[in-house]
């Protein structure tokens, strides 16, 4: 049969049976709308969570925890090898395929806190428990505003001093506990993660009536200064040294900074760790962060890193990813159930229609139609119904999403990582929705189509 003939038959049938076909196509529309809506929501939630909150394109690796030393080991006296990631390992990791950047990190090995902010927001705020770590300055430099630097301040030491008063206005006296004297030092530069800023601005700041910080604010104030409380926190005292404080200044925001805490130049951490924890693993790092070219390379890289004795430190990204996939899968299942119901409606409609058209089908057979022609005719009707239902369903999902975004903008309070839209409608999703509509319509129609194709024309036409 020629395509133009098929088109005429299909259009004719659509026009004549628009009521019945429209009703069954509506089910497809509803199911596809639900499917596209949930998937669009899932895509965006995933993109926000994994792109901004728990980036999935990086992985932090640390030495695998050693099993508890057995009694025998203690008796024989086998020493524990210092845990840490060696410089050579860092370099080897950097050369692995798929790895685009390596960030070795060194965490504070001693308790610390932080207090400050009085000159900026009018009162002292702080925490008795401060997480901090050191990072190579080269990894932060590109994220800094012009004129600000992230270098170990002792590269340019000032005059000798005994206390802060001996130093210039901005400086403080960096004097290790027990040392007879120290040197004047610029405040230790600190960068924070966008994650922390977002949490502060949308969570902490409103709750405590504080103004939000932003890039412009940091620039304008030439940095917020605060004091590190070194060697003591709520958790206790450091095993070496005597508690003291050091002046610090926020110089910028960097996605390479640790999520919840302060990131300072790695040389500073090395020095302070020695002071408060003792000389241990001097040439190693506490962990290393690998950034991948593509998120799907993470698994491979983790497997290769296991050979180096390293394991992922944080599986939040993976957990979140699994959780989202699970929730969206569940919602998609609901949409699937609607589609299955729609599909069975189509099955019923097609059986009824084909029965009504018995004589017509017989006439067409007698006029030259093959069983395949008749099958193609009804199959095409099903595809059109499915594509139309699926296509419109995608449109309905978009409209619904638009309304929800509007409501969210106006009615929902600002919260950390609140996105401008809660949905993502890539072209493939809309096309896939239409395809799913067509597929479910086809599956439903298949019995009726077979019935039509196999109809015995002699029986339908010849009077008994």
């Amino acid at each position: 049969m020629r395509a133009s003939s098929l088109g005429r038959l299909v259009v004719g049938e659509l026009r004549r049976s628009r009521g019945a076909l429209g009703a069954s196509g509506f089910g497809i529309l509803a199911g596809t709308a639900a499917l596209v809506f949930f998937l669009a929501l899932g895509l965006q939630v995933r993109a926000v969570l994994l792109g901004q909150v728990f980036p999935l394109d990086r992985v932090e690796l640390e030495p695998a925890a050693k099993p508890e030393p057995g009694l025998l080991t203690l008796l024989v006296g086998g020493g524990r090898s210092p845990a840490g990631v060696k410089q050579e390992t860092v370099e080897r990791l950097g050369r692995m395929p798929g790895v685009s950047a390596v960030f070795p990190r060194l965490r504070f090995a001693f308790p610390s806190g932080a207090f400050g902010g009085a000159e900026l927001i009018g009162r002292e705020i702080g925490t008795h428990e401060m997480l901090a770590e050191g990072l190579d300055a080269r990894l932060i430099a590109p994220d800094l505003e012009a004129g600000l630097s992230f270098e170990d301040p002792l590269r340019k030491p000032g005059a000798a001093c005994k206390e802060d008063g001996d130093c210039e206005k901005e400086q403080y006296c960096e004097r290790a506990s027990g040392a007879p004297e120290g040197v004047c030092s610029a405040p230790v530069p600190v960068v924070v993660s966008p994650y922390l800023v977002e949490l502060f601005n949308k969570g902490l700041a409103p709750a405590h009536g504080l103004p939000p910080v932003g890039k412009t604010l940091i620039q304008k104030a030439r940095g917020i200064t605060f004091r590190f409380q070194l060697g003591v926190s709520m958790m206790g005292k450091a095993r070496a040294g005597a508690p003291r404080s050091a002046k610090a200044r926020v110089v910028g925001i960097s996605p390479n900074a640790m999520d919840l805490g302060a990131t300072v130049p790695i040389e500073v951490v090395r020095r302070w760790n020695q002071e408060f924890h003792g000389a241990e693993a001097a040439g190693s790092y506490s962990s290393v962060v690998l950034r991948m070219e593509r998120p799907d390379q993470v698994a491979t890289v983790i497997r290769m890193a296991e050979a180096e004795g390293l394991v992922p430190r944080d599986t939040r990204a993976r957990d979140v990813s699994v959780l989202i996939a699970g929730v969206i899968g569940l919602l998609a299942l609901v949409a699937g159930v609607i589609l299955v119901v729609a599909s069975s409606t189509i099955a019923y409609t097609f059986r009824v229609l084909v029965n009504e058209r018995r004589v017509e089908i017989g006439v067409y057979r007698s006029l030259g139609a093959t069983p395949g022609d008749i099958g193609a005719w009804w199959l095409a009707v099903a595809v059109v119904v499915g594509l139309a239902g699926g296509g419109l369903g995608g449109g309905v999902a978009r409209a619904l999403a638009w309304v929800i975004d509007l409501l969210a903008r106006e009615k929902l309070p600002d919260f950390p990582f609140k996105p401008a839209t809660f949905f993502q409608f890539p072209g493939w999703l809309l096309a896939g929705g239409a395809a799913a509509g067509a597929l479910f319509a086809l599956v439903g129609a298949v019995a009726g189509v077979r019935q039509a194709a196999r109809l015995d024309p002699a029986k339908a036409l010849l009077d008994p």
Partner: protein, 229 residues
Amino acid sequence: MNPPAFRLQDLRRIYQEGDTRRAALDGLSLDIERGSFVAVVGASGSGKSTLLAVLGALDRGYEGRVEVLGQDLARLDERALGRLRNATLGFVFQSFHLLPHLTVLDNVASPALFADEPFDAAQAALLALRQVGLEDRALDRPQHLSGGQRQRVALARALLRSPPILLCDEPTGNLDSRTGAEVIALLERLHQEHQRTVIVVTHEERLAQRAQRRIALEDGRVKEDSGAA
């Protein structure tokens, strides 16, 4: 020598209903020459419609051999059978089987849907309607026509592709005697005009007498054949 319009060899059509097998056609062997006008008669249930469905390539469930214009139907695939029904065979049914959602013109033009090559179907349909004297009703719906007119429209549809063979199952069965006579006269004319082979299944003696050859069936067998060699 030209092959006959139909050649049947030991044609059987057996219907299986549960455990019982019934032979609706039980060993027919005969030739139907081209250009002949044949009446098939017989009591109800004697197998007339069954025979017409087999001859018309609508029923493939037969045994034995059936040739149409020298072609063994068993050797043709569905496409070739469709082409045969489309261009070589014209059907007329007792209940007309016009499609009520189409105009008379579109009904007559509908074989064009299944033609291999596109052609000016509206033009051809008007021509066919003129042959049956109904061109002025082209845009009517078939349900607004009388029975005799409807059967003439059905004939026009069968004629659209000028097939050399017409197969008619009780073409006057639903008509009163006057309109039936019109249709019979039309069939005779169509037979004579292009040397068409016309096979008519009928109960009507009046129609059977006009045929050149009369084949009487009984229980699926030939009881009497006026043209037997």
